[in-house]
């Protein structure tokens, strides 16, 4: 077995994990599986691409690589802008679609269907604006550094891993240690009672969209940096995201991250065994196994 698969799996897994944390949060608060979450990932990646592109056009200085990394300051600035813009996009979609459906007291399944419609619309909009041709944040090639044990990684890859780790710890602390985190857990358990206790559910919903979309944007930018930026990138990640969110247990942030890593590592090792063309099937197999053996997930409580 190739030890490099471990590194590849961790990197893919950290991106899946970030996306799955967003899925699990929106799922537990808004109470439906959001099929448009993959599109937030893709939009995040393109927002960063657009902002970084503008910055690069303004001054070549923004493109000069920072330290050992392949990208210049245009990308980190683009990332911050993308997090904000993707959050804004999620709020707009909520205001136009999901929020209205909630106030009409639509059933879960209508919400799921609407998210399916929103996903196709958002994805095709990206294709319309940017075409389906792959794009890249940087043309620079990076040499993978040997880390020992036959494992190599580029500085970009190590940075994405670190960013993912920091974000997950931060989100976990936010949920467990702060007032807004308590409010989110309360709304997730019982929105009506949360209102009675004085929590403004609408505010919590907004915070959850911002968090989920922000994490999605970071995941998208990581994927864009390490692989490429494509309108379909969110769709390709959607099944792994759902598999990870369910495997981790809906509502559990550490669960989603851990499960993301499990899915990523399984993909990486399976690719060694059965070939890269079957990568997308791994998430489906994991999903079926979880639903068969432990539908509440690793950290979930049975319903």
């Amino acid at each position: 077995m190739n030890p490099q698969a471990l590194m590849d799996g961790l990197i893919t897994g950290s991106m899946i994990g970030l996306g799955a944390v967003g899925v699990t949060l929106t799922y537990s608060i808004l109470r439906f599986a959001n099929f448009a979450h993959g599109e937030l990932i893709a939009w995040g990646a393109y927002f960063a691409l657009a902002v970084a592109g503008v910055l690069g056009a303004v001054s070549g200085g923004f493109l000069a690589p920072i330290g050992p990394f392949s990208f210049g300051w245009a990308l980190p600035i683009g990332l911050l802008a993308a997090v904000a813009l993707t959050g804004g996009l999620a709020l707009v979609v909520d205001a136009l679609l999901f929020g209205r459906l909630r106030s009409q007291r639509s059933t879960v399944i209508i919400m799921v269907m609407a998210s399916f419609g929103a996903a196709l619309t958002l994805r095709s909009l990206l294709e319309f604006i940017f075409t389906s041709k792959p794009a890249y944040y940087t043309q620079a090639l990076q040499i993978a550094l040997p880390l020992g044990g036959g494992i190599r990684a580029t500085p970009d890859q190590l940075l994405s891993l670190a960013v993912a780790a920091v974000l997950v710890v931060a989100i976990h602390l936010l949920l467990t240690r702060t007032a807004i985190g308590r409010s989110m857990r309360a709304v997730s358990e019982n929105p009506a009672l949360a209102g009675v206790v004085g929590i403004e559910v609408r505010k919590v919903v907004r915070v959850v969209w911002l968090l989920g979309a922000g994490l999605a944007a970071v995941a998208g930018i990581s994927a864009g940096l390490l692989v490429q930026v494509r309108p379909q990138m969110g769709l390709d990640l959607l099944l792994p995201l759902f598999a990870a969110a369910i495997l981790g247990g809906i509502g559990s942030v550490p669960g989603a991250m851990l499960a993301g890593l499990i899915v990523g590592l399984s993909e990486a090792f399976a690719v060694q065994l059965i070939g890269a063309e079957w990568r997308a099937a791994i998430a489906f197999v994991i999903l079926v196994l979880v639903l068969l053996i432990r539908p509440q997930g690793i950290f979930g409580r049975p319903e």
Partner: protein, 338 residues
């Protein structure tokens, strides 16, 4: 000229009717039973590939075909898609409603992958060609050929429609509606409710498989590209436009949306220069997506609406009466939703 026009109209209608079959299948799952299938394309693909394998002549470079009659292919298609639906349903139907959606989405992804990569069976990215077409001996006369195919598909749709209408009005169909409309009824039925829903899901999936087979034989070749999420989306749009729970609406919606789709494709294509045709196609999907969301917001029961809406309203009233001054937990949480 008029002969060509009639031939084209027949072609258009025949295609629309293959979608109408998919819509009828989806209507059994969603309209009658409230089960959400996000993998319609996958079940249609299963039917198309199974029938193609069964009916094409033996081909040395891939597994099969078996050169069987078309009717056997169609039957096999329905059975195979029905079986996969049954298995996925058995896995998820007891769980949260959206787990079924996620699992069916997974089926579509997996089927797409198999179609693309299992080359010795599916022909890989190039798919399977030379699928026998019904009335092939009429091929010399395009008009007669188109009309014969249209007649065949129309007969299939009418037969399905009549069968499904009977089913809807049978005790089985009434139980399904009761389960969909009334959580308490569903709970009272317990295990049986799961059984009924599973049956409906498998029947719906089987009908989608049949639709896939019918379409494959009508066009004569299949490839993985035909079974992308876009197809699922189109079928959904058709059912939603026609009105879920309404079989006539499902057929009408299919013809209508297919007409709009085919018509607007030309219009969008004309708006963009030849080099930008991919953009035109993307924009077309955006428009349809916005339209679907708008219908969900404004007329969630479809444009034609559902038959016997009255029973639904009465159901809600009686639920309220029962709940009276101590509404159920469900209502408590509903009231507090943002």
């Amino acid at each position: 000229m008029s002969v060509e026009l009639v031939a084209y109209a027949a072609f258009f209608l025949t295609m629309a009717l293959t979608y109408a079959i998919m819509c009828l299948g989806l209507n059994v799952q969603w309209g009658q039973t409230g089960l959400f299938n996000v993998g319609v394309a996958g079940f249609v693909a299963i039917g198309a590939y199974v029938s193609a394998l069964l009916t094409t002549p033996d081909t040395p470079e891939r597994f099969g075909g078996f050169g069987m009659p078309i009717a056997v292919g169609w039957l096999g298609a329905a059975l195979a898609a029905g079986l996969v639906s049954f298995l996925i349903g058995a896995l998820t139907i007891r769980l949260r409603a959206d787990y079924l959606a996620i699992a069916t989405f997974g089926v579509a992804v997996a089927v797409q992958l198999v179609a693309l990569n299992l080359e010795p069976v599916t022909g890989g990215p190039f798919g399977i060609g030379f699928i026998p077409r019904p009335f092939a001996d009429l091929a010399g006369n395009p008009l007669a050929f188109s009309l014969a195919n249209l007649a065949l598909l129309a007969a299939v749709v009418v037969a399905l429609y009549l069968a499904l209408e009977r089913l809807v009005r049978s005790p089985w169909g009434r139980v399904l509606r009761a389960i969909r409309e009334d959580e308490a009824a569903a709970r009272a039925l317990g295990k049986n409710a799961t059984k009924f829903r599973l049956q409906a899901f498998a029947i719906g999936g089987g009908i989608m498989g049949l639709a896939g087979a019918a379409q494959a034989h009508f066009i004569g070749f299949i490839a993985p590209d035909n079974y992308v999420p876009m197809l699922t989306f189109q079928v959904w749009a058709m059912l939603i436009v026609g009105g879920s729970g309404n079989n006539r609406g499902a057929i009408l919606g299919a013809v209508l949306v297919w007409g709009i789709w085919a018509g607007s494709a030309g219009a969008f294509a004309a708006l963009f220069p030849p080099g930008e045709q991919a953009r035109a196609a993307a924009l077309q999907i955006v428009m349809i997506g916005v339209a679907l969301c708008a219908i969900l917001l404004l007329r969630p029961r479809g444009i034609l609406g559902e038959e016997r809406v009255v029973s639904r309203h009465l159901g809600r009233l009686s639920q309220l009466r029962r709940a009276g001054p101590q509404p159920t937990d469900k209502e408590t949480s509903r009231a507090g939703n943002p």
